[in-house]
């Protein structure tokens, strides 16, 4: 895997921890351009990218990710940031066909969970930070359609927004995949969402829904 971050201390720390967790770190870069060059040379399974990097300290991470996706579509992209913003998440879900993650930098310190998330991204799944999802689920709406959901359904919706597949949901909730499927279709009916959405499209649909007024 490869890491791009302009903060050297953090980058080195991440590299060491990932190595301890059994990942092989094959390259480090201080900005998006250097990372793209490294990836082109020898594509890794996953690139861990800081969202805010030089030169503009804006959203260079997403630009680099897009460039990598165009040249090496198999590389999983994990974006890290000090803040998680809904509009960035929506952009990642819209512009990337899965295989992306968007997490707070804090998440790296929980090595086990982070390792799981990185592997999911490598498999082409989607990972969205729980803090962002929690904020959106708690968002106040004029006529809140979430009020129609049961407690369990609300919990499931949040997990879906974080990118969990039905199998992952079943493991997380200790329920059978069949039961999960029933709950999911019930939620989609209640919220009037397209029932056939899969993978990152389901995440996008749920995030968009949560952002409604």
């Amino acid at each position: 895997m490869m890491i791009a971050d302009d903060a050297v201390l953090f980058r080195e720390g991440v590299a060491r921890i990932l190595a301890d967790a059994g990942f092989e770190v094959v390259g480090q870069a201080g900005d998006g351009g250097a990372l793209v060059d490294l990836v082109r040379h020898d594509p890794p399974d996953v690139a861990v990218i800081d969202l805010r990097m030089p030169p503009g300290h804006s959203a260079e991470g997403i630009e680099a990710a897009a460039e990598i996706r165009a040249t090496a579509p198999k590389v999983g992209l994990m974006l890290l940031s000090q803040y998680v913003e809904a509009h960035h998440a929506l952009r990642l879900m819209t512009e990337f066909d899965g295989g992306v993650g968007y997490l707070l930098k804090d998440r790296v310190s929980d090595l086990t969970a982070f390792g799981v998330d990185v592997r999911r991204v490598a498999r082409g799944e989607v990972v969205i930070d729980p803090e962002l999802v929690a904020r959106l689920v708690a968002r106040r709406r004029e006529r809140d359609p979430l009020a129609e959901l049961t407690e369990r359904e609300r919990e499931l919706l949040g997990l879906m927004a974080r990118g969990l597949s039905n199998i992952a949901l079943a493991q997380e909730m200790h329920l059978s995949p069949k039961t999960i499927e029933g709950h999911v279709s019930s939620i989609f009916t209640k919220l009037d969402l397209p029932p056939d959405a899969r993978g990152h499209r389901r995440v996008l649909a749920v995030l968009r829904f949560l952002r409604q007024e």
């Binding site: 201390l9 060491r16 301890d20 805010r52 509009h87 930098k105 310190s109 004029e142 952002r211």
Partner: protein, 684 residues
């Protein structure tokens, strides 16, 4: 400077005053002597015409020496005085010496006088003919008048000779032929002349705007009445006398129009005389009523009554004076404002719309002194640039190169006034008038007053602009400082804490692997606490200056605000492109404050936020459906936001009736959306 101005302004000189007085005296003596010589009804109109034409003509000449109407009227008046005097003299019994020659002098110019009077009527009120065709008609009329006068000087054509006791002094051959042939021609041409005047006046009315029609109305009535009486008299009564006498109404009506509508911007003294007269009357009556009236009722006549009377008069003075002034204004000027009202109006404009003020001054000056062109310049003695013009040429591409005060074009028509405030030249005003017109004394006074006001206005504007720029700099600097702190936190402390969390996480992992579960638990606990601390720090940094605003602009930042709001927010944001950093920050903080207040104090169930670009700028509105009654000044952050907005040239409106919700509104003037350029940090 002062001497140059005086020379330029062409003040009513002693020579002119003497000339006017002399002409007036001659006419007065001629008419006075004529009247003393006897009363002849059929010559009365010549006397009346002499007095009225001379009076109005000389008044205009004195105030506006270049004005053609004044000269024409005065010429008609003097000629009429000659006609009147000669005829009175010739009829005197017993016969005076050279009576036949004086009668001759008083008869043959008649056609010429009629023609000149016609020109005066046709040229009223601006001294010019309506068009080139009317001008040609007037020239033909004058030429015919001269030919008729020459003929009349040679032969006794005029029927006036029948009424005069004397004979035509010249015995040129062909007298009977001339009388027979030329008299009908003369009568026909007199009628034709009158038709021409009437047609000219009607044509002028038809071309005039509503304002001018009102000004000309009296004049037209007078012309119409006199001409119809002349016609009816000639056809029905067989005497032109009633028509001839009413002809003197024409100069009177012209005089009324000049006074009432200040046609030549002459500031009549009548106004002040009326007010002073009314006040003298009021004081006298008031005093008499109190002292005599009340004194008769009370059995005591001590100084107390005088005191009471004085007090009553003093109390009544101002309201009565105001009424009298208004009445006098209406009588003298119609509905028009006096120059001093114009001045007062200008002062009233001061606190309003600062950018339009100089244009307002140019327009006021132009109206006050009847200028064709006014330019307000800004700068010092060495460099001046035009800041406002009348008529407004803002849209035109005029050269705006700096000009030194000394080089500002002064000519016979252009007057210059430097604008000096506290001894410093701040600008200048140049006034251009029509050729042949100069500044009257009243106009000069008014211009000086306006220039003094302009000094105040320019100074005031410079101060206001300086204050606004300073406030804007403060806002920009504050925002920059906040952004820098946020950035430093992001790149420094936050980064290090996150790395520390990483280390703690690694430590916990390592301890667990090594089987030291106690250490693992403690490290994990420390990591969690650290994460809570970084979360808190993150929120603090966001409150300081949300990085999403800097990086991605208003729309995502406001959506983010709505995500976090404790009450529902209905967002209507359409702000194409990025605005300047201080505008974006101000809009964000205004909406943030509005939403926070609504959630915290108002018990509202919904906040509606509108932020959109329109013609006037960036329109921002935050409205909740809560209890209202918010005080824009007390406590809340609204005062700070209001200051912020005024630094950007905007005004915060707070509407918060009890029970009616709270509504914050503002429009921030912004230029075209900022283009995103390379190297400039955050750009959407």
């Amino acid at each position: 400077m002062a001497t140059a101005q005086a020379a330029l302004d062409d003040a009513p000189s002693a020579a002119r005053e003497t000339g006017v007085a002399l002409v007036g005296l001659v006419v007065g003596v001629l008419v006075g002597y004529g009247l003393w010589a006897g009363f002849y009804l059929d010559n009365l109109h010549n006397g009346l015409l002499a007095l009225t034409f001379t009076a109005v003509g000389l008044y205009v000449v004195r105030m506006r020496p270049g004005h053609r109407v004044g000269r024409l009227f005065a010429a008609v008046g003097v000629l009429q005085a000659g006609l009147f005097f000669g005829r009175q003299y010739a009829r005197h019994e017993p016969r005076l010496p050279a009576a036949d020659w004086l009668a001759w002098v008083a008869v043959w110019p008649v056609p010429l006088v009629i023609a000149i009077a016609g020109v005066a009527v046709m040229a009223f009120p601006n001294g010019r003919m309506l068009s080139r065709r009317w001008r040609r008609a007037a020239i033909v009329m004058v030429v015919l008048g001269i030919l008729l006068s020459v003929a009349s000087a040679l032969w006794p054509i005029e029927d006036d000779w029948d009424r005069l006791v004397v004979e035509h002094p010249l015995q040129v051959v062909g007298a009977s032929w001339a009388e027979r042939t030329l008299w009908p021609v003369t009568v026909f041409l007199y009628l034709a002349f009158q038709v021409l005047w009437a047609a000219a006046v009607i044509a002028r009315m038809r071309q005039a705007g509503a304002e001018e029609v009102r000004q000309l109305r009296w004049f037209v009535y007078a012309v119409a009445i006199a001409l119809s009486l002349l016609l009816v008299g000639a056809v029905v009564w067989q005497t032109p006398l009633p028509g001839l006498i009413t002809l003197s109404l024409i100069p009177v009506a012209a005089g009324i129009a000049i006074f009432k509508y200040r046609l030549y911007d002459i500031d009549p003294v009548i106004n002040k005389s009326l007010v002073v007269g009314a006040m003298v009357l009021m004081i006298t009556v008031g005093y008499v009523v109190v002292v005599v009236g009340v004194g008769a009722l009370l059995p005591r006549s001590d100084p107390l009554l005088s005191l009471v009377a004085t007090a009553v008069v003093a109390l009544l003075f101002e309201p009565v004076r105001r009424r009298a002034q208004r009445l006098a204004d209406r009588l003298v000027y119609g509905h028009r404002a006096t120059p001093y009202e114009a001045l007062a109006q200008l002062s009233a404009q001061l606190p309003q719309a600062p950018e339009g003020l100089l244009g307002g001054i140019a327009a006021t000056v132009a109206k006050a002194v009847g200028a064709t062109d006014v330019v307000v310049w800004l700068g010092d003695e060495r460099e001046m640039v035009p800041a406002a013009t009348w008529p407004d040429r803002a849209g035109e591409n005029t050269a705006t190169q700096a000009v030194a005060l000394a080089d500002l074009g002064i000519g016979p028509r252009t007057h210059l006034r430097p604008v000096v405030h506290r001894g410093r030249v701040l600008g200048a005003i140049t006034v251009t008038k029509q050729a042949g017109e100069s500044l009257s004394r009243a106009e000069r006074q008014l211009l000086d007053d306006l220039v003094a006001q302009t000094g105040l206005v320019i100074d005031h504007q410079a101060q206001a602009a300086g204050l606004e720029a300073a406030a804007r700099r403060i806002v920009t600097a504050t925002d920059a400082a906040r952004r820098k702190i946020e950035r430093d936190l992001h790149d420094g402390v936050q980064q290090r804490l996150v790395t520390l969390g990483l280390e703690l996480g690694g430590l916990a992992e390592g301890a667990a692997v090594a089987g030291n579960s106690d250490l693992a638990a403690r490290a994990e606990s420390a990591r969690r606490q650290l994460l809570e601390a970084t979360a808190e720090l993150r929120e603090m940094a966001r409150g300081l200056h949300p990085s999403v605003l800097t990086q991605d602009g208003l729309e995502p930042a406001l959506a983010n605000l709505a995500d976090r709001s404790p009450i529902p927010v209905r967002l209507r944001v359409s702000v194409a492109g990025r605005q300047s950093a201080e505008v974006e920050a101000t809009v964000y903080f205004l909406i943030s404050e509005g939403v926070t207040n609504a959630a915290r104090h108002s018990g509202a169930s919904l906040v509606e936020v509108v932020a959109k670009r329109d013609r006037d700028g960036l329109r921002v509105e935050v409205a909740d459906d809560g209890v209202g009654g918010a005080d824009p000044v007390a406590g809340s952050g609204l005062q700070g936001l209001s200051d912020r907005l005024s630094a950007l040239g905007a005004r915060l409106e707070v509407e918060s009736p009890l029970g009616g919700g709270t509504r914050l509104r503002t429009v921030i003037p912004v230029g075209s959306p900022r283009p995103c350029s390379e190297g400039e940090a955050p750009c959407g």
